[in-house]
Symmetry: C2
Subunit: 437 residues, 2 copies
């Protein structure tokens, strides 16, 4: 009734009704509702109702683009002038999150070793997927927070910074993400896409590669939804002057052989030393090539930089620049427990979600934002799909400081694997499923 | 992610997701979410997301029935034993709200005069429709609040009580209604039906007649939606042992010739004196007959009780029992302003919503719950559709204590009428459109 009595320019209920009734929000409506929500004038219960209406009724691309713009405008938009970072072009990567996804760790120094600047603002983990900052914080001394000046100097001198995003970057997104998490409104492609892209555009990168995970361990379970998300984000990048490309990659099975903070740092070091699991190396190189291409550096072959040690050199300087000790021993869990393979045969399925939940229950992840994580906790896998296993031999090793958690972690893994007769071939899709861009 | 990590019996996000994804809520989910919301364990932003999902995805009848049951269970359920009220059967009426809808005022004493007990728990107005309590509070001395003992004694001795609902009656509904009002989730039939019926069932009436308004001045603009609401509520009454019937009635045009608190009391007194506008008399008698039939008193003709003064006698006793002075002069607005008919012809349209907004702007209604209302403010109409009018003669008289409001009220009425050439016949639907029950 307020439209008849009051004379405010906008009213939250009118905005909600527009979307609820299947209409398109106007630019001024979007600008107002995002800004007023950030200021606290639009209440949480109003924004959650709007988020549910967006989830169920969708948004057109112009609406999503404007919504993203409004989220960026809620905070500062960084600039990374090329001459301030030693002439390096900027390129960043974002993953929608998966189990064992430590790719940022070898990838950032690798791309920096190729000559680009990698401004990688990262987050902590929540739920069954780990967070890049949690992993790096297992390195003694390393700190996630850097000042703006430190950030620019490290980009120029080292070429890569992995650090926590400033609270000034898209504060509307921070507030809205927390709200969506408790109101069943996370799974809306317009809101996911604008959340990711507002932060990445505000951080000032010139090129962006998105790793959109698909499968049991990922947020997106099916390729069609993942493709829709990828296309939406690639278009948003284009709308805002960021050269953006996306790879849809498999997350039915974990990446590599480890899920857990220090365990994944150790595996990343193997890759930087020129070894490591095939899938981690393959995806690191695929994403590095996309980042270099998007940054206008097609000619550089990142595989060389793994072999010649220059990526490892950047890693060591990157860790040291944030007060980490690259030579310090990594923390190890106090207790381990081995789970054997239940039968002889070929491992044809290793479920990423189950492994993620097991690692989480062991202490590698958190249920609430304020929970601590254990640096040494997690799951080591002794076989990946396609491998032959023998009943009774180790299949998983569980790591934790709190051994009372073994039972619940083992329960998560009870249905995680399928072992088929010895002549079976698992029906595995390629790691890189599709390219969008 | 909480389902994997935590072991709570219920989780608000799971309930929201169930409805968001088009599923049916289980009885335990409904019981838990309504109770936990009332206790404050489910947050406003979670309930508003659920309300939006209910609005957009609907509810099955078993879900609506259980939801209503859970709302009733959030507070006390009154009992009105027949022998405690002098052997009278109980019957109540509820209107979904319209402009000029003063029917409760003559109807309650009329039905009581016929021998039934009428336990009429009412509300205050918000927006362009007035509230029964606001109207009665224009009578000097009258108070809306009665104790439980006073309520039962008045029902027994007078036969009718119109009073404010206790806070103990369906508190879940009170909280949820306030939330829906600010989150664009009022217009969900499952939530409207359960809101109305939870209070009416909890108040303990044995029979209930619903006046479901349809038209510009009503909440429901079209007959199909109104019918769906009526059918839902009639079924809910049956589920919970209350004999319930509904009339769909016209609200394209205001009821009677007045909209405003004291103005409507005065018009109600005309009806109780055996006069009054035809439409008000017709609807009062139609609803009275339905109430008497639902209460098992088919033989009584309420028209007799208007003619012989017995309804007026009950009115006087009902007002006096709540400390009102039935003989005191009613308040009058300090200022009046006449709006003339713009042309000669036949009035073929008089828009209820416009008249409601004008009365509201003059001070008869409130924009916020805590606002005061003016007893004397409102609109008097000098013609109804079908009448011949002459250009320049009075069409509306505006009443207010705050004459600076005349302009905005007049603006609301600028497009309120259509005057057609003198031989036109307005295409009016009947006042009682349909009966559901």
């Amino acid at each position: 009734m307020s439209e008849a009595f009051e004379s405010r320019a906008f009213d939250a209920v009118d905005v909600i009704r527009t979307k609820r009734d299947g209409g398109q929000l106007s630019d001024p409506q979007i600008d107002w509702v995002v800004a007023a929500y950030t200021r606290g004038e639009v209440a949480d219960e109003q924004m959650s109702a709007l988020a549910m209406a967006i989830l169920l009724n969708g948004m057109t691309h112009p609406e999503i683009s404007r919504w993203t713009e409004a989220m960026i405008a809620s905070g500062i938009r960084m600039q990374i002038p090329r001459d301030a970072v030693g002439g390096r072009p900027t390129a960043d990567k974002h993953s929608t999150g998966g189990v064992g996804d430590k790719i940022t760790l070898p990838l950032s120094p690798l791309v920096a070793a190729c000559g680009a600047a990698v401004p990688q603002l990262s987050g902590r983990g929540l739920g069954h997927t780990g967070g890049t900052l949690d992993k790096l914080e297992s390195i003694p001394g390393w700190r996630a927070t850097v000042t703006g000046d430190e950030f620019m100097a490290q980009l120029r001198d080292v070429g890569a910074v992995i650090c926590a995003a400033s609270d000034d970057l898209a504060p509307a997104d921070k507030k809205l993400y927390g709200l969506r998490d408790v109101t069943g409104t996370v799974e809306a492609i317009p809101l996911i896409a604008s959340s990711i892209m507002s932060k990445k555009i505000a951080e000032g990168t010139g090129a962006l590669v998105l790793d959109v995970k698909v499968g049991s361990g990922a947020f997106m379970k099916d390729v069609d939804r993942a493709r829709e998300l990828a296309q939406t984000m690639v278009a948003l990048g284009g709308d805002h002057g960021v050269r953006t490309v996306a790879l849809l990659t498999d997350m039915e099975t974990p990446l590599g052989l480890t899920a857990g903070n220090a365990l994944e740092v150790r595996e990343s070091l193997e890759v930087l030393e020129g070894g490591g699991p095939d899938d981690v190396v393959e995806l690191t190189l695929a994403l590095a090539r996309e980042m270099l291409t998007a940054a206008g550096m097609e000619g550089v072959d990142p595989a060389d930089k793994l072999k010649d040690g220059s990526a490892m050199d950047v890693w060591r300087r990157m860790i040291a620049a944030q007060e980490g000790d690259p030579d310090a021993p990594l923390p190890e869990a106090r207790e381990t427990h081995v789970l054997p393979a239940p039968a002889d045969g070929v491992l044809v399925r290793l479920d990423a979600y189950a492994v993620g939940v097991a690692a989480w229950r062991l202490g590698a992840g958190r249920a609430r934002k304020e929970d601590p994580v254990q640096a040494g906790a997690g799951v080591v896998m002794h076989a990946k799909p396609g491998a032959t296993v023998r009943g009774g031999e180790p299949l998983f090793t569980l790591h934790t400081d709190t051994p009372e958690r073994f039972d619940r972690a083992a329960a998560a893994l009870a249905e995680a694997v399928t072992i088929a007769p010895g002549d079976s071939r698992p029906d595995l899709r390629p790691l890189v499923i599709e390219r969008v861009g």
